[in-house]
Symmetry: C2
């Protein structure tokens, strides 16, 4: 019973707070972003993509159970990929190219909004420092990821010329990767959150994670929809990019 | 010129301080350890084995360059291995079985000398917190590892009944794994230690690493050769083990 009610609480957090609810994503998926707003999203979302394998390594660095590490390692493999072919990070740079950005500029991380960088760093620190239960629970936004990826693929293909099977390959690949990861993470959390206090901790971790995703889109909106680009951040037309 | 002189300094540290010089290893490889002294070594060395993938994950968690992470990941793969077959950690437990220990007891980490645990934890923290150059340089004891592994395989096969191809498979595998890793690590250190200050930093890191390996054998000698077993540590004849 408690497992079901915790899973329901976790899913309710997603229903209320996952970043598919953010106005920027409605604008993006609905075809209402300018080319430069799409570029700003691609540049800034790189910070999150680049942080994922680091946070998964941070998790493994404090995980003393080899069996858990063996399961967890595929997350790093999915994002970093092999020496030659690259994985999810390199698929993200295909999207960067497709929207007319220099992939080396995007990969450099130059021009990323400071608020976005701080949010992504907060995620790595969270996973490194919080109790293991919360480190695992913070990954459970993947429960909600396939739906946003499906909507995104559909919306981008419908509304933007740059969208095709190659430029959107990152999202297509996540459709199969994320469910495998989240099945393991969800089971682990439900198995280990065996007191009301631990259930609350798991929910707090997921709230933290939805906060850090939302904060990135607020920063994007402020800079590139409302036009308050902070000093040092990417400016549309920047010749380096 | 500077590359050559730094490499020579690093190799000199190994020649003077690597734990192949420690009396415990002379005793072990020379066939002078009692079965319980071999068991104590197997139990305590587990702490180091178990720390290696954690320190490599700690390295990856603070490494922002995906290309370096892609190279580094094979170290974790070598030690943790796949979900089913296990890798170096599970090969170490084959040795535990061969010397008459319960592999579950060894894998639990119970009974490890506190000084050994502290040394291994210091390694994970060092790699997580020091400049990247030092995190890489601390891995360069692998320059000296193939020689000790060869001597160990030869000495154990000659002197102990438990030694055979299966029980020593951990060391046999390291003969091919370590040179690949250290070629990458050494080149990286020589490429990046481009000032006298950085050369000193790289040497300090290797000194730290030789210290943490040596400290483990001092603790082993104190407890199981000199007989000062601290409270809570494994006692020969312990029925759990």
């Amino acid at each position: 019973m408690s497992r079901d009610s915790l899973e329901a609480r976790l899913r309710a957090i997603g229903a209320e707070r996952y970043h598919d609810k953010h106005p920027f994503h409605h604008k993006l998926h609905g075809g209402d972003c300018t080319p430069d707003q799409v570029r700003a999203w691609v540049i800034n979302r790189w910070a999150y993509q680049a942080a994922i394998p680091m946070k998964d390594a941070a998790f493994m660095s404090r995980c003393t159970d080899p069996d858990i590490r063996r399961e967890w390692r595929s997350r790093i493999e999915d994002h970093d990929g092999g020496i030659d072919e690259g994985g999810g990070l390199r698929r993200w740079l295909k999207l960067a190219e497709a929207v007319g950005l220099n992939p080396d500029y995007v990969a450099s991380g130059v021009g990323i909004l400071p608020a976005t960088r701080f949010a992504c760093e907060a995620y790595v620190h969270y996973v490194r420092e919080k109790p293991l239960l919360q480190a695992v629970a913070s990954s459970l936004t993947e429960l909600f990821a396939p739906k946003i990826h499906e909507n995104r693929i559909e919306g981008l293909l419908k509304h933007y010329d740059f969208a095709n099977l190659v430029s959107l390959s990152y999202f297509r690949k996540r459709l199969t990767e994320a469910p495998k990861d989240v099945a393991y993470g969800l089971k682990w959390v439900l198995d280990h959150a065996d007191t009301p206090e631990k259930e609350d901790m798991a929910c707090e971790a997921l709230l933290f994670k939805t906060d850090m995703l939302w904060a990135q889109l607020d920063a994007l909106w402020s800079a590139y929809v409302d036009g308050h680009v902070p000093p040092g951040a990417w400016q549309p037309g920047d010749s380096m990019a």
